[in-house]
Symmetry: C2
Subunit: 489 residues, 2 copies
Amino acid sequence: MTTSPVQVEALILAAHNAYESTRDVSPHVRRTWLTGVADALDANSDELVGLGQRETHLAEARLRNELKRTVFQLRLLGSEVVRGEHLDATIDHADPSWGMGPRPDIRRFSVPLGVVGVFGASNFPFAFSVMGGDSASALAAGCAVVHKIHEGHRELALRTGELVREALERAGAPAGLFSTIVGRQAAELLVDHPLVKAIGFTGSTAGGRALFDRVSQRAAPIPFYGELGSINPVFVTERAWSARRGEILEGYAASFTLGMGQFCTKPGLLFAPVDHDDEVAGILQREIASKPLTPLLSPRLREGFDEALKQVRTARGVDVLVAGDDSESPRPTVLLTSAEQVLRSPEILEQEMFGPATLVVQYKPGTDLIELARVLEGQLTATVQAEPDEDLTELLKVLRERSGRLLWNAWPTGVTVSYAQHHGGPYPATTASTTSVGTAAIARFMRPVAYDSFPPSQLPEPLQDHNPWRIRRRVDGTWESPVTDGETE
Amino acid sequence: MTTSPVQVEALILAAHNAYESTRDVSPHVRRTWLTGVADALDANSDELVGLGQRETHLAEARLRNELKRTVFQLRLLGSEVVRGEHLDATIDHADPSWGMGPRPDIRRFSVPLGVVGVFGASNFPFAFSVMGGDSASALAAGCAVVHKIHEGHRELALRTGELVREALERAGAPAGLFSTIVGRQAAELLVDHPLVKAIGFTGSTAGGRALFDRVSQRAAPIPFYGELGSINPVFVTERAWSARRGEILEGYAASFTLGMGQFCTKPGLLFAPVDHDDEVAGILQREIASKPLTPLLSPRLREGFDEALKQVRTARGVDVLVAGDDSESPRPTVLLTSAEQVLRSPEILEQEMFGPATLVVQYKPGTDLIELARVLEGQLTATVQAEPDEDLTELLKVLRERSGRLLWNAWPTGVTVSYAQHHGGPYPATTASTTSVGTAAIARFMRPVAYDSFPPSQLPEPLQDHNPWRIRRRVDGTWESPVTDGETE
């Protein structure tokens, strides 16, 4: 069953009406909606995890953790909304002696964009799907959401959508604030609809770019927040390699095989001064053998993985370091190439292998890692494995240009949801310089509006002098925090 | 003389190198560069204003004011940079009891994008041109700027560029941090170049959309911050019209004729319950007659204005309320139509007449202003002229959806540069939900980067625990202001 054009139109209109009737509700009310959804997902975790296991082959523990994260995210965004951070409220009182000439009373805050279209990802059936980061931050912003479900976990998505709608209704939110649609035609109508004001997307580079192009061609273009592809390079310094090669290889094997390598932050490249291939292969083989194997998320994803792996494996100068297999639950593959080869054919570094495979790039002692880093495209993450006293300033600057998150002696899989988190990076990692994880994700779905010379009685709550919502605001250049009353946590 | 492809390439490379060597300088150093440029423009104001008068026909007082604003803006952005607002520094210490599972130490701040291409506008030869809001905020962000000069004030632009380069060099900034290019081919090379990471543009909807489309088709798309067109509607309530019709018409005439109507915030539409056309025409005629007349900015702009005026004047149901003329310094025109006509043919509200013309939309008592507001496109501003105790909540909500700045009993021309200012609006007013005026403009040219699990000694200054740059930061969810030492003003 797909959603018909008539149904899509009705759902978008209902979403727009729900948005219009709720865009100015107080942050406390909005938080009750977010926590209502969180409670519902939590209360139905057994059913949801069961559905997820059946449809995605992901392990129960992994799915429980992902659901926990999703529920936590809703609660964290709720507390952020009550703080009013996302409103960015700024008040400049009239100032006759302002440096460029008299200044009128001017006040600004951010308002929700309207209806947001969200595309779910296959690999995170909870955290980047129906009520994942995009949907949760759009609702936190005050938007309505129409979610295009991913066929890879269709039953789970439909059931999650049902629970979300029921929870919102119980919490007092209007019908239409959240809905789900199915099918490609429905997705295209969503992307093209004049009442849709932003798109959140997590998926492949090819699919994401096609949607980005479509959105760019609208009569009125809208922001397209796409998280596309990333290879997530890891640079091991010579000193780190000498000091703790075994530990590094163990961490690498654990990270790249996690969830059968089906993470956008999977370390797909390891630059290391490999000298004894056999020893390295032995360690990796042993580590890989200790990991559980499952089928990949879907036949379609498996096909894409097989194709990508074949392309890299058969590229000039690439050898197999640890052979995988092509069984239903495929044994992970580690490929090997050289720094010289990579510098000659840097395009090999652009092929994401979404699944259980990774590429080791062997460099000779004395090699300039900066030169290697410079051939990389945009990434979600870049990691260094180094000794604490090494000076990697220049390498880190080059990696910073190409990556949204830098890690030091850590592994990129596992993305915490917090205030400082950033999950995004230069194209093709993402299509905008924004994050789809953490509290900063809310601002993507808002836009600023200034109120010029308004009488006090006509100002909206966030901009009234007595600050009825008790939010943090910038007043005449200086930030002021209201006295907290215990309600903000 | 236009800039050759070889020269453009060299300037972009030099800009990139200058950016790379300065992206991490301290805010205090960066402020000295901004104030150095401000000082140089100030010191050469007589020469610059003289050049401006010759090339643009704008009056001396107007140009002096605009230059004063441009200089002020540089100083304000300098003080903002020292506060570190634009860095958005956020620190989450490691937390083993974080709600979704142990949290690593994760810290984020925003870094400059790289080389920014800026397109100057014809109507603000200082404030939206060579060292206008886009260039100043890009430099404040830590970017390098390659500025495409506007042919309408070519000599002024080239001379301004020279002064800026000299001032930056004197202040110790590297050569290449700022440069100017001339010509359409050079502009296209700028927009397409892989090292260019964002575009700032102020100009026509047609020109802006063409560049937006070009940027969207890049292999790696970049943000295009375009400020395009706006008609800036004004809604006069029946009570305001009864109470102070004369005052409103005076304010309207002063605002729409200011600078010969060549402002993107010119009120191009007045919705009013006009009953006695003759009286209204008389007041407007008298007011218009008291305003100085000058030629328009350029022959090309004049041609576009004549064409747009003709289109609206000859549209069905449009009459001439106050006749202008087509002399070299054209007398302003006021056209008249009815609310019924506008609801039948809303496309008439989409035709910007950039120059001395405006359209009065006559509505009958009891007309639903909300219905009229709903037919409007995106705008930079929307104004209500109303009595203080009127309840316009619903009308303002509809206008808020369509506009970036709302005004109450004020006029939209005159855009102060401040913390709360917002100059932008839904498409086609702008192509992104950002402002090109005020301190918030800096963030357009930055992107966030997270540092995950870094040893203290390897963190960049803004994220070090002892806060060497003394900037405001969010630590574990709570914003902390450093003790100010007098240096921040």
